[in-house]
Symmetry: C2
Subunit: 200 residues, 2 copies
């Protein structure tokens, strides 16, 4: 079987959310699996000298309108949480902790966290809120809270973010098909074409 | 007939170039014309606190690769000029000067300027080089050079850029269909869908 697609995203990224609702089916149509890889745009933006979208005058207004429009286009619920953007460090740590135990469970966690944040507009920033999401997919809340204090879990996320930067990840979503990078929910059609044709 | 599409672009924008080779036919398929409107990202980025793509580490590398990939995808010649990005003030002034005389000629000028800059990789920055492009479409070089010194021509471009900023234009290409904005060559499919369906 061909290598999985790498799907890098920040849990605080609406475009990551929109890509997340399509990516698995898209990949499956071409016999691929998806390696979900949460990252943090905060440390990445320090490297790229960038800043969250809403900090750019005019562009932030466009993005706000565009996210609403994407929700309607993709026919998925969309509600922006407060605060926004939010620090996704707890959600991301829980993801990698779960991945070490059960990759399928980590995948369900990511979907649940994205749905809570952007489908329902919930604030999933805190350790408690991230653990609440874990509980909805059957993970013991106390275990999740304990994991968030585990130095190895913290290290794992740091390593993932560092490795992503080394690879060139500068935004969310960033999707690699056999090392070919595609940035943005608006490139899913190109991702599909690449999968279908093997490139151009 | 429905209102024309507004197509804002900077002559120094590769994504603007790629959109430019598709936009007229796309609009025509839906009974629309296109109002080509060159703008300058320099003054716009001052308002949006942004900077040219290549100034963003990692993102600039991606963009460089993406432009090559777009050339192959759209099957159009692509060669990045030196310097890049370049100041498109002369090309933009010539466009608006020609538009005041003959809109069809201005349109041909824009296509010729984009082709020279990104199809052939020519440096069209200077007054002389911009006038050379005008000459290729039958405009007298001396007249073009004189127009570039005309205060009214300079004012016209300044007004266009100011009006674009007032409208919310923050990048290139920025395409408006009945006041609905779409940013990027990768949104041409959404532009087409909006034209077809009247929105979603």
């Amino acid at each position: 079987m061909a290598a999985p697609i790498d799907f890098y995203f920040d849990f605080s990224s609406p475009y990551g959310y929109f890509a997340s609702v399509k990516i698995d089916e898209l990949a499956a149509r071409h016999g691929r699996q998806v390696n979900w890889r949460p990252i943090l745009l905060g440390p990445i933006f320090k490297v790229t000298n960038s800043t969250p979208l809403l900090n750019f005058p005019l562009k932030g207004d466009y993005a706000t309108r565009d996210w609403e429009r994407y929700g309607r286009l993709f026919k998925v619920p969309y509600k922006r949480p407060t605060p926004f953007p939010f620090l996704a460090v707890n959600a991301s740590r829980l993801f990698y902790w779960l991945q070490g135990r059960d990759p399928a469970l980590a995948h369900r966690y990511a979907q649940a966290a994205y749905h809570a944040a952007f489908g329902e507009g919930k604030d999933i920033t805190s350790a408690e809120a991230s653990a609440d999401v874990a509980q909805t997919i059957g993970v013991a809340r106390t275990e999740a809270l304990a994991a968030l204090n585990d130095a190895a879990v913290k290290d794992k996320l740091r390593q993932e973010v560092d490795a992503a930067i080394q690879r060139g990840v500068f935004g969310s979503p960033l999707i690699y098909v056999d090392n070919e990078p595609f940035w943005g929910a608006d490139r899913l059609d190109q991702v599909e074409r690449w999968l279908k044709t093997g490139g151009w």
